[in-house]
């Protein structure tokens, strides 16, 4: 018979819509509205997994996100397989394939269960005490075995087929939790017209109302009230309803993060719809109506499949129309389980009630239940369970004042246990609110708030329906700035419980395994062992035993652990402390957190206006900061080396074309512009004439080089500053900082023009010849337009700032044109240069050519610890200036001391050998390790123009070592090289002025 444990009627499932999925290959039938857990139970499946350490058979403990045991691998199709899904929250649908975890070869017969026999050895922290000998065995033997045994499901192996979305949202009132308190809060807040977001992790709003089938509110059924409330909320334009949405993180300043599960439950989701959406809500006020979790009872073998929480039994019956068993024993220390028992009885199931409390403490509810014909035992304790892969009986005994009486075995196929309730204060605690222990309710309740939030309903320790509604309504109104309150008439709720810790037993304590943390296999005995060993802070207990550290993060176990520790140490519970609740409330996919930031949207790729041309002409690209820059232009059959050799020759012998658009550019404008430049750079600027350029060097206040670049004076009050590609944002920020905060009196404004201008460098002896026909309004003659000057004019009719500058040591120009004209001008120059063999070149050739001239690249020759003098640029420093940023630091004792590393050239003895950049330099390669290192190679290339390799290096006192042979590391040893001047080409420097 399909679904033998489906009750003939009842539940919210859609019996007209059957669904099928598989569990460990077996087809499971259920109805739309089922969770995987409820469908499994409808089919009588209780054994769904094996525990982490002992591989004990485990079933379904809860009905929600606090589930520690029923974890499954879920396959939703190619690229959509993921581990560790809680069966109690996965919505069942056609096409799911689910499998149990942590068992081999099968769930029913699991070899790992041998661990259970070894459990006397595998106690808390056992691994700290062994696996140490022999030493090499840890990496090779012990750890691999431990790792293979640990872990739950299998990580996805292929890229995710789903997409994820992100949404920033703002509201006046965020209500977390759509149970009675949350619904009432949302109603109260919505009435004020404020913007309200109501989120609930369940597919439907209502919380406990979804299974409180017998309850009534204000004279109508709970279901009718619920439906009306949702309809009313839905009618407000200002209300956003987010079902299937878990608020998982409460961050600073009311920044609350939620994940919405958009498509996992759909068989055929809308095309392109995201799997999940991260909501980042900034709320003026938050109402936390997050409910409470029921506590398991701690007794021997309380982890048998079929043993579940009492309220969960009730939920499976009332909400899903499923009987978790035919004969159910409820065992409780509180009143709420009586409602479950009554509903089970009403559903036609056999019921026995075992109350741990003495008759006098539960007389009223016991009497009511007895009236229904249910046997109620009071003043009991639980000794253990019968059965292995499914509970077959509960062993109970009367217990008074610690004396355990005669055992009785109650045959059953399901146990519903209740040790009371723990408010879900996770988000409150994350908000850094202070928790206060309430002895009457044996719970940590929200105390002093740290942010603009308030808790309502069970989250605040309020359990009866009318009060939940009233506190929720008041909280919602208050959050919305209203003072309205409302009383609700509701059917009474059975509340109140007596806190119990591990239950008294007459069994040998050494043999009792009463589980506290079901997933991590932590028993009460483990907790006591930890205490015996001196772990007394709850954080220590937790870390030593791993209690509360499983994927449920201790939702069902933390209070039991605390209580047991408190009892054992005989200290009041608050003195043990509560563990800090940290995000996320329930596990959140990386995908939701990443959102759209994948593939092309991971990080912007910045490209210049000339990028496409370069791509069309065979350029290889390199990443420089966010930019893609043309690296070299290989012709068919050329490798990088050949291309660079050709490009380098072309520039020296003819003319080359280089895209320098990525250089940072800043327009410095104002009557105090020159004074500002004086303060920011080491160089003098006052006397730089309009139309002239100067190489500028900029330090941080610590005296180390920050950036460099050519600066042109466009007018008395206007400078065109250039920076390195990667340094552009840094320099702009650095300048703005000083301008605004140190020298606000200077009349200067800064504007980034990096992307206003495309920059086309035309370099080489033929550069003038190439551009001359295209330029208008500028006299290009050497006399009228010498090296290091700038003119404004037009090129091909486009306005331009034409720089005569060179980073190659040859005649050169940098054409700045408005970016949208960049490609057209580039193409025009390229066409004009064809008769001269114009050659486009990339960054690699640029690097070689400048290295031939000994020009530094900030970030390559410098590394944040290099001064101007270190790289031979002390001469740039304006001696007359009393101050500039970084000047004072250049006078510090260790900055003026000898022995600093200085920029020199290195010529390898083997002319063809190109040293590794980053190679280290020693005087004596035969010295013992550790060796004394003198410095390192900063740049190294094969120079076609020099006919040999060249290298720049920073070497201790290097300028005093000219001509000395040093030894440089290579992949296989050392290579000798001679210290030389860092200028390898055209040392006289005549070519640049040609």
């Amino acid at each position: 018979m399909a679904q033998p444990f489906r009750l003939p009627s009842g539940g919210r499932v859609d019996r007209a819509t059957p669904i099928r999925f598989t569990f460990d290959g077996r087809t499971i039938e259920g109805f739309a509205g089922d969770t995987v857990a409820s469908a499994l139970l409808a089919n009588g499946v209780h054994l769904v997994g094996r525990s982490f350490k002992y591989h004990r058979p485990r079933g379904i403990l809860t009905h929600g996100s606090d589930e520690p045991s029923a974890l499954l691998q879920v396959d939703r199709g190619p690229g959509k397989i993921d581990p560790n899904n809680r069966a109690t929250v996965v919505e069942a649908r056609n096409g799911l394939a689910t499998t149990s975890l942590n068992r081999w070869p099968s769930l029913g017969f699991d070899v790992g269960a041998v661990n259970d026999l070894l459990s006397p050895v595998f106690v808390a922290g056992f691994y700290y005490k062994t696996f140490m000998w022999p030493r090499s065995f840890w990496d090779k033997v012990y750890e691999p075995v431990i790792r293979a045994a640990a872990g739950l499901g299998v990580a996805p192996q292929v890229p995710d087929a789903d997409a994820y979305a992100n949404r920033h949202a703002h509201c006046d009132v965020l209500v977390v939790g759509g149970g009675p308190a949350g619904l009432a809060a949302a109603l109260a807040a919505a009435k004020t017209g404020k913007r309200v977001i109501l989120a609930d992790e369940q597919p439907e709003f209502g919380g406990s109302l979804l299974h409180e089938t017998g309850a009534s509110i204000d004279g109508q059924s709970a279901e009718a009230w619920r439906a009306a409330a949702i309809e009313e909320l839905d009618g407000y334009e200002s209300v956003t309803l987010l079902p299937r949405t878990t608020a998982f993180g409460y961050y600073n300043h009311n920044h609350v993060a939620l994940t919405e599960r958009v498509t996992d439950h759909r068989e055929s989701p809308a095309k392109g719809a995201p799997r999940e959406r991260l909501w980042q809500v900034r709320a003026a006020e938050v109402v936390l109506a997050t409910g409470a979790h029921e506590r398991p009872l701690v007794f021997a073998d309380n982890d048998r499949p079929g043993v579940m929480l009492a309220e969960s039994v009730r939920v499976f019956i009332n909400r899903y129309g499923v009987a978790p068993g035919r004969r159910i024993v409820f065992v409780t220390s509180g009143a709420s389980a009586y409602a479950a028992a009554a509903d089970a009885k009403a559903a036609g199931l056999e019921v026995v009630m075992v109350d741990l409390r003495p008759e006098r403490d539960c007389a009223s509810e016991a009497a009511d239940l007895r009236l229904m014909g249910v046997e109620v035992l009071t003043g009991q304790t639980v000794i253990g369970t019968k059965g292995r892969k499914r509970v077959a009986g509960l062993v109970v005994a009367p217990c008074a004042n610690g004396t355990v009486g005669a055992r009785r075995v109650i045959a059953c196929d399901c146990v519903g246990m209740s040790g009371g309730w723990t408010p879900a204060v996770h988000l409150f605690s994350q908000s850094r609110g202070k928790l206060a222990y309430d002895e009457g309710r044996d719970a940590f309740l929200p105390g002093v708030s740290a942010q603009a939030e308030r808790s309502a309903g069970a989250a605040a320790g309020v359990y009866d329906l009318a009060s939940c509604l009233a506190t929720g309504f008041a909280a919602g109104a208050e959050a919305a700035g209203a003072t309205e309150t409302r009383a609700f008439a509701a059917s009474p709720t059975r509340i109140g419980f007596t806190p119990v810790r591990d239950l008294p037993t007459d069994a040998d304590p050494a043999k009792v395994r009463a589980f506290v943390d079901f997933q991590n296999d932590v028993t009460a005995k483990d907790l006591k062992l930890a205490m015996r060993e001196g772990f007394e802070s709850i954080e220590h207990v937790k870390r030593y035993t791993t209690t509360g550290m499983a994927t449920d993060q201790g939702k069902t176990s933390n209070m039991n652990a605390l209580g047991i520790v408190s009892k054992a140490l005989n200290r009041p519970l608050p003195a043990i402390g509560t563990t800090t609740f940290r995000p996320p409330y329930t596990p959140v996919t990386f995908g939701a957190l990443v959102g759209p930031a994948r593939d092309a949207l991971f990080d912007p790729i910045r490209a210049t206006p000339i990028h496409e041309w370069a791509a069309e002409h065979g350029a290889a690209f390199e990443n420089v900061a966010l930019w893609r820059r043309a690296w070299y232009f290989a012709k068919p059959g050329e490798d990088m080396h050949a291309a660079v050799v050709r490009e380098c020759r072309a520039v020296r012998e003819g003319v080359g074309l280089f895209d320098a658009s990525t250089l940072g550019k800043i327009e410095v404008v104002g009557p105090d512009a020159a004074e500002f430049m004086n303060r920011m750079y080491v160089n003098p600027w006052t006397k730089l004439g309009v139309g002239r350029c100067r190489y500028g060097l900029m330090l941080k206040e610590d005296g180390y080089i920050l950036d460099d670049g050519v600066v042109a004076r466009m007018a008395e009050d206007r400078f065109h500053v250039t920076t390195t590609t990667g340094g552009a944002p840094r320099v702009m920020n650095h300048m703005e900082d000083y301008l605004q905060t140190e020298w606000p009196d200077l009349d200067v404004f800064l504007t980034s023009t990096t992307e206003q201008w495309a920059v086309i460098a035309v370099q080489g002896p033929k550069a003038r010849d190439v551009i001359a026909p295209l330029v208008s309004g500028i006299d290009l003659s050497n006399e009228a337009f010498p090296h290091m000057s700038v003119r404004e004019g037009a090129i091909c009719g486009a306005p331009c700032r034409l720089f005569r500058v060179s980073f190659t040591g040859d005649l050169g120009y940098e054409i700045n044109v408005p970016a949208d004209y960049g490609r057209a001008v580039w193409e025009a120059v390229f066409a004009a240069g064809e008769p001269y063999g114009i050659t486009p070149y990339g960054t690699e050739t640029m690097h070689v050519l400048r290295a031939e001239k000994g020009y530094i690249i900030v970030g390559q020759e410098t590394d944040g610890t290099v001064t101007p003098d270190d790289v031979g640029l002390a001469g740039m420093i304006a001696k007359a200036k009393k101050d500039f940023v970084g000047k004072r630091s250049l006078a510090r004792p260790d900055v003026v001391a000898s022995g600093r590393k200085q920029l020199v050239g290195l010529a390898t003895e083997t002319a063809s050998l190109v040293l590794d950049e980053g190679a280290q330099i020693v005087a004596d390669p035969n010295q013992p390790i550790p060796m004394k290192m003198l410095g390192h190679v900063t740049s190294s290339y094969f120079s076609a123009n020099c006919g040999r390799s060249i290298a720049l290096a920073l070497v201790a006192d290097g300028r005093a070592l000219m001509g000395r042979t040093l030894h440089v590391t290579t992949p296989t040893g050392f290579a000798p090289a001679t210290v030389c001047d860092p200028v390898f080409f055209d040392a006289e420097g005549g070519r640049i002025h040609a």
Binding site: F52, D82, N84, V121, V123, F126, Y128, K129, T130, F131, M132, W133, R135, W138, E143, I146, R147, A150, G151, G153, V154, A155, P159, D160, Y164, A510, L529, R532, E533, G534, F535, S537, E539, R582, P583, P584, P587, F590, G591, L593, A597, A600, I605, E622, N623, D702, D863, G864, T865, R892, D894, D916, G918, Q920, I929, M931, M933, H936, T969, P971
Partner: protein, 417 residues
Amino acid sequence: MRRFSLASLLSEAVGGHQGWGRQWRAPEPKPSYDVVIVGGGGHGLATAYYLATVHGITNVAVVEKGWIGGGNTGRNTTIIRSNYLYDESAHLYEHALKLWEGLSQELNYNVMFSQRGVLMLAHNIHDIQSFKRHVYANRLNGIDNEWLSAEECKAFCPPLNISRDARYPVLGGALQRRAGTARHDAVAWGYARGADARGVDILQNCEVTGVRRDASGAAIGVETTRGFIGAKRVGVVAAGNTSRVMDMAGVRMPLESYPLQALVSEPVKPVFPCVVMSNAVHAYISQSDKGELVIGAGTDQYTSYSQQGGLHITTHTLDAICEIFPQFTRMRMLRSWGGIVDVTPDRSPIIGRTPVQNLFVNCGWGTGGFKATPGSGHVFAHTLATGEPHPINAPFTLDRIRTGRLIDEAAAAAVAH
């Protein structure tokens, strides 16, 4: 001290483990000690341990405001490596790494030091230059570190995406095979147990509220929530709270304390064989023995003692992780948390004397202190015992900010610690 071994474990198993005693005592503070160490993290406990074992100084107290190992020791991503560039740092971290290699046996406490290898990915030419500079410098310092091609990186770490089409393709990597991870809590507990067995008093829930100085200005003890505790020498090892403690002694420090966040995924079966760090995209990842992916990020931008940071730091980190390991988007974040890291101007530690006589400090480990724990404790114990720095920590003075002799690994390499 009851020795831990398989034999003792088995014999206890028979008796229901009733025979295990406390791993360390919970003593009342004595009126005074030879040395009081402020801060019961890994560094402070290691200092106490080596004072007792190496220097024979056992009249020592470790004063901890909360529970031992509850600060950065218990909050970090446990990466251990020594492939630092500068000689000073390389010697310090290599000293630590050598101690790690025998630590479980030395302490008779399994700290699960796992030499799984740390692979640092190069994503651009600058990275290649920088990493090769490290590889060569390490080699000459006798520290293992090797350059791998992208394909070799993939072979060493199969989950790695080395597609050339990636936003930041993997161009290669630097691998230190002796590097790895350890079980952070066990380090604190192991040192505590070892120190306690030799007579060191570990005083938990004992917060320092003042540093008492005599007329000459010398430190003579600490005021605490459990009363005054006299000391011939005081060593402050308070990580993120160092500025506050030193303030009590009138010493202003070149430190700023930032939130540093980390997270773990749900546990899964072994999928990740090593540690991978990527500086270009700012993230690092490994898998713990329990099966969780352990992922760390950069600091938040502002100073804070809240042990909490912004979600955007987490999302940014995961962006990067999922770019390099796109198959992990369906993994789930299980737990995230923050620590407080104290950062110096050059991001290297300060270990040594202070302007106050008899007051010593060991701080400024920034985001990388865990890996140094044994070495840090070892050299600081030497400093406290002799009043003089060990040759290894001699360069790490407070005075270097004045002279400009900074040890700036991060500036030199853009390498996260």
